[in-house]
Symmetry: C2
Subunit: 119 residues, 2 copies
DNA sequence: CTGGATCCGCATCGATACTG
DNA sequence: CAGTATCGATGCGGATCCAG
């Protein structure tokens, strides 16, 4: 085992999961990745995420923007229209994330069954 | 809608991230996936995970076992020796998880830089 | 329409002590 | 050695109000 191994506290996988593991992050990335005009407005995102509060969507988007995964484009001042999209980094993350999604869609039922959470 | 189950239950990705996103889960899966004898004992896992408490390692392993991702093999009663390994399901999860790890190792620096954690 | 500020409940995690 | 039980701190996520 060499230094810089994945087991140290700075393990990048752990850090990544800390970010995309937050409650609404993966949903935002997925929606933005699948957006056909490549951008979605704040209210449009909120509409497609049942249950998300304005605060949490705002917090999630700000974190993703600061992490360089999401772009933020403001159009006009009043009423404000903010469009969000994925950066190149965000799109590259979408690739392994999509693989994880496919696995989840294919196997989560097995996990639920094993955990006895069916029904 | 007042509680946490208000988002779409048809989003298995969220459910999966809720599980592998917990603090020590991904580390356990990685260690077990890379274990050469395919199994590791409790104390061996703890030794390779600096900072984990007995309780959290125990909780993490129990959750993974109940989810059908990890096998648990008890050898002897006193002293107890418990060996953990990955199930087939766990190994299949390791594939997309490894992809995510590779992305993390390749790009987390960019995220940190964008987030202003680097000069 | 967007999103910041504040208060708060609750789950998660950690430290410690105890059992077999 | 492996695992449980309890208590407490921390931080996330949610409701609400306020501002541009």
């Amino acid at each position: 085992m060499t230094r810089g191994d994945l087991f140290d506290p700075a393990c990048p996988t752990r850090q990544l999961l800390d970010r995309i593991g937050s409650k609404w992050t993966s949903m935002v990335i997925k929606l933005l990745a699948e957006a056909d005009p490549a951008e979605l407005r704040f209210s449009e995102l909120q509409r497609r995420m049942p249950g998300v509060s304005q605060k949490m969507l705002s917090v999630t988007l700000r974190a993703l923007t600061e992490d360089g995964l999401v772009t933020r484009r403001v159009e006009g001042a009043v009423p404000p229209r903010v469009h969000y999209g994925l950066t190149g980094l965000g799109r590259s993350l979408e690739v392994p994330l999509a693989a994880l999604r496919e696995w989840a869609e294919a196997h989560m039922a097995e996990i639920d069954a094993a955990a006895g959470r069916v029904g």
